[in-house]
């Protein structure tokens, strides 16, 4: 299981949720927002899927979605 904390001033909650929805077939992903943090938990990866690279890909996806939503 991997737990990641994202700062709300850098990542948008909606973008992180969108990324979680995109990756739901590859692992169990839960997203919760508390205070200044967005807490993401990745667990139970699918067969032939490593959790660490999956986590990196997830973070890239969340960042890209955040940038796209901001229109930067």
């Amino acid at each position: 299981m991997m737990k990641i904390e994202l700062n709300k001033s850098l990542y948008r909650v909606a973008a992180v949720r969108e990324a979680a929805a995109s990756f739901r077939e590859l692992a169990t992903i839960s997203v919760s927002a508390s205070g200044e943090k967005i807490v993401v938990t990745l667990a139970h990866p699918a067969e032939d899927v490593e959790l660490k690279p999956l986590c990196d890909e997830f973070l890239n996806h969340a960042l890209a979605a955040t940038i796209a939503r901001r229109g930067a």
Partner: protein
């Protein structure tokens, strides 16, 4: 293999960091984290099977891209008014004249008026005139106008 770059948001605003990250997001894994004050940590992690030399190039390229985007933002802000003026001018020039707000009807015309003689038959207008031939209403009207 990973590298962390800490930048001040005073030097590189967040939109600059985002723009640079977006350019490099397909070449490495990018993670942003907030630091003390107005600093942001950018963690770049190599994709699988990328040699160290190649990753070093990516990191260097990312740092250059930060500068590039910062300059781009500065120029964008400096030239914003000029750019807006050019766009306004271009849009105004493309407006049809009918949209000009000085809609003054100079010659109020009746629907029966035919100032250009369009309703006059060709024969009456250009054909040879026969003596005693009755002239049409339109021809009479044209003569009156002339």
């Amino acid at each position: 293999m990973q590298k962390e770059i800490v930048v001040s948001l005073k030097v590189y605003p967040l939109e600059v960091v985002y723009a640079a990250a977006y350019v490099f997001i397909d070449r490495c894994y990018v993670f942003l984290d907030k630091r003390e004050g107005d600093a942001v940590a950018i963690r770049l992690r190599a994709q699988p099977d990328v040699p160290k030399k190649e990753f070093d190039k990516v990191v260097g390229g990312f740092e250059n891209e930060l500068l590039n985007q910062a300059l781009r933002l500065k120029i964008t802000k400096q030239t914003a008014r000029t750019r807006d003026a050019i766009i306004h001018r271009a849009l105004f020039s493309a407006m049809p004249e009918s949209l000009n707000l000085n809609l003054v009807d100079e010659q109020p015309a009746d629907y029966l008026d035919d100032p250009l003689g369009i309703a006059v038959p060709w024969e009456e207008k250009f054909g040879e005139k026969k003596e005693g031939a009755p002239s049409g209403d339109a021809a009479a009207k044209k003569e009156t106008q002339e």
